[in-house]
């Protein structure tokens, strides 16, 4: 895989949500900085893992890449086009190439539409197939995700969580996209089903040459599926590295704390695992601390961390870190 074959580049992405007051004349009294200056690139055919705890802006990053939220600032360059500058029909046409798989398979399927309508909707909206042709394509997609093609006339409530997630995956595949944002696609599933869905995602990637942005808070899953991993905390990217490198040699203290929380399926190693327990809560994204966002909880905080914001700097061979301890 050519290293410079970049499919998606995110440059200094910012997504702020206004906190507004007032009845008719609403005025912003503050900003929730859900994503605050995130930059990364995803190469064609790779799986980019995005990890972080709840509320750190992972999902918002995913949604603003797809322009479901219009970013406050920054650029999202997909196949050479800046998506933030597109709108209307041009943006709709780009949606054929990038799709999303959602977290909760119980919430992401309209309860009043049949499976055929749900999977067929993208085809219909983009005028790619109608009538019999559409039905055949839907049945083909059902087979691709491992479901019975005769399920087309059934409703979502007749399926289990794992089957529903397969329907969601079929919907995302309907337009033959090259890029899929997987927003915690297995977090809401039974543990026994997770492996099946992960394997399906990997099979599909091999079959169709898909590129994934895989958002998750489950570090072992991300390690398993990702080529490269970005660690987010409070709207910022703290560390980026190849998956193995990150897990072997975490440099940022936050990444270290996060990884120390992962159980190791080997009793001998598990007994030696040293847990770094963070104190305090994540600060509010409406009012992040001055300097490094992690300075309020960092076990090795220095004076400079409370004053200056660290940049994400390449320390060796693409392993990027934002931490003054490392530079």
């Amino acid at each position: 895989m050519a290293k410079d074959d970049v499919l998606l580049e995110v440059r200094d992405l910012k997504m702020y949500f206004p906190i507004s007051r007032g009845v008719i004349f609403q005025k912003a009294v503050g900003m929730i900085k859900a994503v605050d200056g995130v930059s990364f690139t995803i190469r064609r055919g790779e799986t980019y893992g995005l990890v972080g705890e709840s509320g750190c802006g992972k999902t918002t990053t995913g949604r603003s890449i797809l322009q479901l939220y219009r970013p406050t600032a920054g650029q999202v360059i997909f196949e050479g086009q800046d998506l933030t500058k597109l709108s209307g029909e041009a943006l709709r046409r780009m949606r054929r190439k990038m799709q999303m798989i959602f977290q909760d398979p119980y919430a992401s399927l309209n309860p009043r539409m049949t499976v055929g309508e749900i999977i067929g909707e993208p085809l219909e909206v983009h005028g790619m197939a109608r009538g019999k042709q559409k039905k055949e394509r839907v049945q083909e997609l059902l087979q691709v995700v491992g479901l019975n093609p005769y399920f087309v006339n059934r409703y979502p409530h007749e399926f289990s969580g794992g089957q529903r997630q397969r329907i969601g995956i079929a919907r995302a595949l309907a337009l033959n996209p090259s890029f899929i944002v997987c927003d915690e696609p297995i977090a809401a599933l039974d543990v026994s089903i997770r492996a099946q869905i992960l394997n399906l995602l990997q099979d599909l990637q091999g079959k169709y040459g898909l590129t994934y942005l895989f958002i998750s808070h489950d570090l072992s899953v991300v390690r398993h599926i990702s080529d490269r991993v970005g660690v987010m905390y409070l709207g910022k990217l703290f560390e980026v590295a190849d998956s193995d490198e990150l897990y072997r040699n975490p440099l940022n203290p936050y990444t270290q704390a996060l990884l120390s929380a992962v159980h190791i399926p080997d009793p001998a190693v598990e007994a030696r695992r040293e847990r770094i327990i963070l104190t305090g809560d994540v600060p509010s994204p409406a009012n992040p601390p001055k300097g490094c966002n992690f300075c309020t909880r960092c076990p090795v905080v220095m004076d400079v961390c409370k004053e200056v914001e660290p940049d994400l700097i390449d320390v060796e061979n693409g392993h990027k870190v934002a931490c003054f301890r490392v530079y």
Binding site: V23, I24, Q26, R63, L66, L68, R92, R95, R96, Q99, M100, F102, Q103, D104, A107, S108, L109, N110, P111, R112, M113, T114, E121, P122, V125, H126, Y155, H157, G168, R171, L175
Partner: protein, 310 residues
Amino acid sequence: MKNSAVRLPLTSSALVEAIAATEMRRQRRFNPARLIPALFGGTIVLGVALMAIFAPLLSPGDPNLQTLPDRLKPPSWMAEGRPDHFLGTDSLGRDILSRIIHGSRISLVVGVAAVLFSGSIGVPLGLLAGYFGGMVDAILARIADVQQAIPFLILAIAVVAVIGSSLANLILVLAITTWVLYFRVVRGETLSLREEEYIWAARAVGCDNWRIIWRHIFPNLLPSVIVIATLLVANMILFEAALSFLGLGLPPPTPTWGRMVSEGRDYLASAWWIPFFPGLAILITVLGINLLGDWVRDVLDPRRRISALF
């Protein structure tokens, strides 16, 4: 012992399967008892509709014929009742049964048409306000507030004073004064539905706003709309009575159920049958519409359709 002769070697899992299979069969089996409320409601609604259509044929007499010597006669089965006035007569000696049969025309048309008209204002505006939010929502919600702050009768009087009174205007007035009921509920539900994950999924797929509103949000708030509509039919019939009583609706002596109830009110102690029978007609009609409405709601919901149809 008697019943211990045959013992099936059921393992626990076989037992579970057997129970599950019985359960499945019980659910699948056609159960006419479940259809009783819907059939009952449907029969009532159909009956009232036929009554309204064929009123001149069914009515035993002229609803507006006054026979003053026969005034305030009780129903025919009572001591002083007359055989030609089955449900008695009112204070002007008019036949109550004839008036109820003829009154069904106005009451049903006003009730149903006003509910549909009111909904066709309130539901789209609620969808727009809830879905787009911002300025659209602020303006529409303020209009709704102002509307609700003005008492119903004062608003009705003002509208009738401007456009005059007729059947069409009566329906218009009722729609203008009640659309807010739909608007509030629809707006609230849309606000929560638009954040559902399947709406985000529809956006990601590339649906435009109109398709999302029409195909994804509207079907999901239909149950609430149906409930409001069926409850509102009764209110519309009574509102019509209130307006007609004040001379803002249809001029007397046009028979309507609402007016019969309000005219008979004064005689409640001495001649209870005057308000009682039209009141009973309203009650039965509204009950029928509600039972039918519940069934329609269930049929439209894929999760309940099976049990609603079989």
